[in-house]
Symmetry: C2
Subunit: 312 residues, 2 copies
């Protein structure tokens, strides 16, 4: 059954039936706007958009996978401020001949990923379009803490990471070469595992800056270096190449460190902590901040691409 | 100069230069997420998406017009809850060969419309796409008042409107028949004049339900009737047909009441008030709520379309 057959309001009612309710949702879908609890007196807000053919392919990912990934990209941005996600709003554009079940499963994936952090989809909008487009806005609460911004890194700080890198990039390369295994990497591309709790935890442990790795570790650390007017050196010996990644890299003729250091979309969190600070659980040291500019790897310039540009 | 030539980050810096800063923007664009004041302890949030070919045409509207309209559609939703808008987030998708100036002027329009209510664009995302798509999320503050929802209308209530209807629909019909005048109606289509302040004002005057007229007055009143399980009768003698609209309707062979009663996109606010309530400034009575179901016009069924479905 196509969306055209049931119309905009038919689609809305079917999609809304797939959504859960988080504790912060004071007024959910169905009115002109939602009302979300903001107990801190401030709200953290971020928007991320996924476009078919650019961010996902329907032959590589199912609709629930795409929902998980769209939600994760946004929820990770909230976590990267040291905040706890509270709600999502979703703008969904699709051709009128799209199967209704596809949209319902997308909503299910969005809702399930949000539920991992106690959040829910509280509103949205739908339109026909020849290009499937999913724009998600996430809201979050700082719980009384200052936001952890990109600009606070100081020379001498420790650079640490929570979560994994390179997995989604490896999965993407594998799929783009026509393979479907190793399954662990393909699944990592389809549904990132984001260390959401590590964001607020870093904030309470004094993180001086933080960002989520959406475009590539070196590129995203580049934003921290530029914002803080500091240099950052990353040590490759801090990264272990998992067995399936080593095998895939060998089979495909790829340097696995290109995935680990420049691959995006796993939505790891990377942060800087004052020297000597005890890192909270889930965080591990990968480098240092110094009095310089730009990013080096093992004290040398990185020769490969550092990340992703959405218009190039 | 195309977006491809300056890349994603080049585009972001040029667009951000066009954005102002509202008083609620505690942390604006440039980090993983924005931080917006939510003094009420709750935040009102709404998302609306505009798609090229569906919601706008580049030969009918300039980029600044489209920015104004995208912002207005969202800010009106916040006002319709009785809240004051505080911030916008914008997801922007466009082909890489789009002229950079187009995106900059779009940002200028979004920013100018937001500034009308003291709000500003605090964040967003960009991606390439073959379809220009603008998804806007608006946030707002209730100032301690309960939200005015769609479901509160009671039999005996007065139905009142703030702002105009039919103007944008008339402008749309005029443009779609290949004309460019009357200018007043074409401009109304390009840049709606939304009575933002009438939303909070209705809330403080005891409005029992409220909605913004985005799809068509009768269709949107239908949502209020359905949510409140009441009937609503609209009186045509409450509507004056402006001279330019009468002329255009005669020239094009259209019933002007079709525009006034079923045309969307002017983003008037329509609300119900308890019987005998003094209507706040800018509001005028157009009908009554009764113990029934559905919408009637002068106590009769309406024979034309009631509004717009985005998938049909």
């Amino acid at each position: 059954m196509s969306i055209a057959e049931i119309g905009e309001f038919g689609l809305i009612s079917r999609v809304v039936a797939r959504l859960g309710t988080g504790s912060a949702a004071l007024l959910g879908p169905g009115d002109d706007a939602a009302v979300v609890a903001a107990p801190d007196g401030r709200v953290v807000a971020s928007t991320d958009v996924l476009v078919e053919g650019r961010h996902f392919r329907r032959d590589w990912s199912g609709p629930a996978d795409i929902g998980h990934r769209a939600a994760a990209a946004n929820l990770a941005d909230i976590a990267a401020m040291g905040a706890t996600p509270t709600a999502l709003l979703v703008a969904f554009c699709a051709p009128a001949d799209l199967d209704v079940a596809w949209a319902e499963e997308l909503a299910g994936g969005l809702s399930e990923e949000a539920a991992l952090v106690g959040a829910s989809v509280v509103g949205g909008d739908m339109s026909s379009s020849r290009t499937i487009t999913i724009a998600v806005t996430a809201l979050g609460d700082l719980g009384g803490r200052p936001p952890v911004v990109r600009s606070g890194a100081q020379p001498g700080d420790v650079v640490a990471i929570a979560g994994r890198t390179g997995h989604a990039a490896a999965g993407y390369t594998i799929l783009s070469r026509g393979f479907r295994t190793p399954k662990m990497l393909v699944e990592a591309y389809r549904r990132p595992e984001v260390p959401y709790a590590a964001g607020p935890s870093a904030a309470t442990h004094g993180a001086t800056s933080m960002i989520d790795v959406s475009d590539g570790l070196l590129q995203d650390l580049g934003h921290i270096a530029a914002a803080g007017v500091v240099g950052i050196d990353v040590r490759t010996d801090a990264f272990e190449v998992p067995g399936p990644m080593r095998d895939a890299a060998a089979a495909l003729g790829v340097d696995p460190y290109q995935w680990l250091l420049a691959g995006g979309e796993d939505h790891a969190l990377v942060a800087t902590f004052p020297p000597g600070a005890a890192l909270p659980g889930g965080w591990r040291e990968i480098g240092t901040v110094h009095n310089g500019t730009g990013i080096t790897v093992d004290r040398k310039a990185w020769s490969g691409p550092a990340g992703w540009d959405h218009f190039r």
